[in-house]
Structure formats: structure tokens, C-alpha cells
């Protein structure tokens, strides 16, 4: 068992890296989309582990996208640098806003973060000179010049990086702070946890991830447009993926993104426009019958089997 786990991770990773060699462009584009949403789902879950429900995902995603496009179009920087800038700007704004809004808790925090995406969108729509206003902005110098294999590997690297950060949060001293804040803030404080510092830290890290993803997404297609860059799509889909896969874990959001990502593509092919109905049904069924998500259900199944074997 001890050797099996790293071996399994290695095999999955190798398969993921070699995917472009064995498949065609259509599957690669699906894989890129799944990786995009997987990373968003994971970053949303990382914030949720502190007990804070954030609806700001789409906001930082859009900010990153706009930063990347503006950097590439107006300042002529390389798209990869533009992506880094996207992360930095999203992280910087998260730091400033976080200092104010992380004083809020529960629904008040959730509603405020939800308002952020709208506020960002309104501001960007009105800064015509810089952002192109309501008609959006395009750039001809896209990420790797539409080479979807390179974009895929780049996206894979970001996703793996996010998985590593998520696991670091679960395995180092940080997880005591994160879990204790979620469990009981007063008791966490009474044991020397600087709650405010850790909340800001997690908020900034997850916002950087969302900004990087947003910039990567925008620069691979070479355009941004207010309504699509800040679309609630980039908020609701990752949440659905994390819930279906299982929250408070790294594997859960990954599983959820793969399950929902693949099923949405397949359903789209067999029943165009009708696929969203079935998609919704999957989410409802999973949330009703597997409250801990698919990963939670698998874990519970193996725990039960182990217990039954021990009792024999």
C-alpha cells in the first residue's frame, strides 16, 4: 500500500503528460477545459477549508484575464509573463480587499465576495481606454500561438502546482490553523493561532491561483469581454465540481472536475441543449445521496469494508 500510492500518482501523471501524443486536438481542448475548472474548484475548496464560503472565484478569474490581455496587448509582454502578472494583480487586490472583508464571517463574507465580481465588471466596463469597455479587448499574440499541446502542458503544470499547494496546506503546520479556524475560532485563538493572518494568507494564495487560471484562459483565446470573463459560470461550475467530488480534500475537487467535465462533453454530443438538465440531475442526486461527495463515499465504502474484515 505504501509503494502503491506514489506509483499510482506517477502513472496518472505520466498518462496526463503523454495524453497529447495519443489523442487528437478535440480531446486536448476538453482536457484543457477540465484542468481549468479543476484548478478553480481546488482553489475554492482550499478557502472553504478555513470555514469561509467565498463567491469571489469568478471575480479574480476575470481580473487575471484582463491583466494578462492588457499586459500582452498594450505593453507587449510575453503571454507567459502576462499570466504571472495576472496572478500578481489578483493576489495584490485580494490582499487589500481581504484586509477589510476577512473581518466578516459566514453569509456576510459570502455575499461581499459575490458582489466583488460585479464591482470588478462594472469598473472594467467603464475604463474604456484601458480595457476596451463593453466590447472587450483582443490580442494577436496568444499563448504559444494556438499550439494546443503546449497550452495543455502549461495548464497541466499549473494544475499540478495547485495540487501540490493544496497538499502542502493539508500536510504542514498550516492545516492545524485551517482546520481549527473552521472548527472553532475562539478555541483556535486561545491556542495561539493568528486567525486573521492565516485567513488573509489563504485568501491571497487562492486568488493568485484564480488570477493565473483566468489569464491563461484569456490568453489562449486572445480576448476578454466583461460578461464572459466575469461570468458566474466560473463560480458555480467549480463549486458544483467540488461538491460532487467531495469538499475538504484535494482528491475530491479533482474527481468532481473529471466526472462533471467528461459527462458534460458527452451529454452535449448526444443531446445538444438538453445536456444541462441531466447535468443538473447528476448534481442533485450526488448532493442528496452522497453528502460527502464521490470521494467521501468511496472512502466510507473502504472504511466499512476494512471494519467488516477486521470483525471477522
Amino acid at each position: 500500500m505504501k509503494i502503491a500510492k506514489p506509483l499510482l500518482i506517477l502513472i496518472v501523471l505520466a498518462a496526463a503528460v503523454l495524453l497529447p501524443i495519443v489523442t487528437e486536438a478535440y480531446f486536448i481542448s476538453i482536457a484543457i477545459t477540465i484542468l481549468t475548472f479543476m484548478t478553480l474548484a481546488l482553489s475554492w475548496d482550499m478557502m472553504l477549508r478555513t470555514g469561509q464560503l467565498s463567491f469571489g472565484t469568478a471575480g479574480f478569474f476575470g481580473l487575471g484575464g484582463y491583466t494578462g490581455i492588457i499586459a500582452a496587448a498594450d505593453f507587449g509582454v510575453d503571454p507567459v509573463i502576462g499570466i504571472m502578472l495576472g496572478g500578481l494583480v489578483a493576489g495584490g487586490i485580494a490582499l487589500i480587499l481581504g484586509m477589510a472583508i476577512l473581518r466578516l464571517r459566514g453569509l456576510y463574507f459570502a455575499i461581499t465576495t459575490m458582489a466583488l465580481a460585479s464591482v470588478f465588471m462594472v469598473i472594467i466596463r467603464n475604463l474604456h481606454r484601458l480595457t476596451g469597455g463593453p466590447s472587450g479587448k483582443i490580442v494577436y499574440n496568444t499563448l504559444f500561438n494556438y499550439d494546443s499541446n503546449k497550452v495543455y502542458w502549461f495548464m497541466l503544470a499549473i494544475a499540478v502546482g495547485t495540487v501540490v499547494i493544496s497538499e502542502l496546506f493539508q500536510r504542514t503546520r498550516i492545516h492545524f490553523a485551517i482546520d481549527s479556524i473552521r472548527a472553532d475560532e475562539t478555541v483556535a485563538k486561545s491556542h495561539g493561532v493568528n486567525i486573521y493572518k492565516y485567513l488573509i494568507f489563504v485568501f491571497v494564495v487562492t486568488s493568485i491561483i484564480q488570477g493565473v487560471i483566468g489569464a491563461t484562459y484569456a490568453l489562449q483565446y486572445g480576448f476578454v469581454y466583461p460578461e464572459s470573463s466575469f461570468s458566474p459560470h466560473y463560480l458555480l461550475l467549480p463549486i458544483a465540481m467540488a461538491l460532487v467530488g467531495g469538499i475538504y480534500s484535494t482528491i475530491g475537487p479533482i474527481l468532481g472536475a473529471i466526472i462533471l467535465g467528461l459527462s458534460s462533453e458527452y451529454l452535449k454530443l448526444i443531446m445538444p441543449y438538453g445536456h444541462l438538465v441531466i447535468y443538473g440531475v447528476i448534481i442533485v442526486v450526488v448532493v442528496l445521496f452522497m453528502p460527502d461527495g464521490v470521494y467521501g463515499a468511496i472512502k466510507a465504502f473502504f472504511m466499512n469494508r476494512k471494519r467488516r474484515l477486521e470483525e471477522r
Binding site: F176, A177, S180, A183, V187, S190, H191, G192, V193, N194
Partner: protein, 234 residues
Amino acid sequence: MLEVKNLNVSYGRIQVIKDFTFSVGDEAIGFFGPNGAGKTTLINSIIGLVRPTSGEINFEGQSLLDRETHQIVRMGISVVPQDGELFPIMTVIENLRIGSAYIKVAREKTSERLEFVFKIFPILKERAFQLAGTMSGGQQRMLAVGRALMAMPRLLILDEPSVGLQPSLVTELFEKLAVIKTEGVSVLLSEQNVKQGLKVIDRGYVVENGAVVIESTADDLKNNEHVKRSYLGL
């Protein structure tokens, strides 16, 4: 070590602590009083969870008034909250590790501290990998005390540790407290179980309606008429 002078605390218009003065040296002291006397409020204002309206709180010569809770705890004050307040979804050992994880001096000695805690509470070693929420009430209380000790406190504050425990467990817990006292930790104990509390403390304060009614040594309190009548049922 800890000095509190003329402390006043109000919740809105209701004054809960009235002109309260007390001190803790290298000793164990106790607060005795009925529900609603202000014992928990007093403890919460020491560790910065409640802000006093006026007065002074000094620990080893430094004021605690403008410090955050986590900073106060890092100075060497540990609290066992009422009902323990463990993290039920974590194992026993994780609960203990949280106690030292965010206090630098204690973190460097985590394994030594674990041994120290296991020596006082051997049951915690046996149950190290069990979820804290699945243990009995008495064991959970022991874990809460152990978690507080992990932080290497110089002052250990216990808020009604006997509450909700059967009499034999209360006796056992107070025997452990007597051991902890001999390890050079100052103790501030808030209790309703005066009979057991008097066995551990050197000095005590009887608190009623947010003010000190009697301040005396443990022996004098045992023979005090008011204490006998109201708290010992004699």
C-alpha cells in the same frame, strides 16, 4: 506574575465585573462562586476575548490590554475553556499538537511536551489515534488539560474543569492538577465545586455578582462561615 487591578467589564449596560482586583504569584489560586458571578467573563478578559471598560491587567510586568488573544497565549498563558472545547474531528494526538504548534518555544520541544503530558495522563497515550469526539467526557476533559499544557504555559487557567463529570472523575482530575502544580506551573482555577477546589489551591477568592466577597488562604476559607453555609453545605 499576573496582576489585575480595578477591573470593570460591562456587556452593554450591564456591569458584570465590578472593580475587581487580584493577583497570582507562583501558586495556585481559585475563584469560587455561583453561576453568573462573572468567573468566565473574568477569564475571557484576561485572555483578550472580552475587552474591559477600565482597569489594568499585567502579566510579568507587561500590559495585556492592547494585545490580541493569540499574542497573550504566546506570552505563556494557557486556558482550558469550559466544557473543554476540543476539536472533535481530529485525533487525540492532533489535538495535542495544536497546543504547541503556534507557540514557538513549545513547538521546538513538541516531543518532550508530549511525553510530559502522557506521563500525567497515560490514558491519552493509549488513545492517541482515536478521534477526540469519540472519547468519554472524563477523557475529553483530560485531553483539554493536556492540550493546554502542550503550550508550556507559566500560568494555566482552568474554567470549571469539573463541570459535567461524575464525582470519581472529578477527584481524579484534581489529583492530576495537584501534580501539575508541583511542576512549577501557576494555576488559576475557577470552580463551583469548592470542596475539591480547596484541595488544590493555596489561596482563593469568593466571587459574587462580579465582585470579591472574601479573599483568603485555602485553610481559612475552609473554616469561613459564609463558605461553609453557601458552598460546602455544612
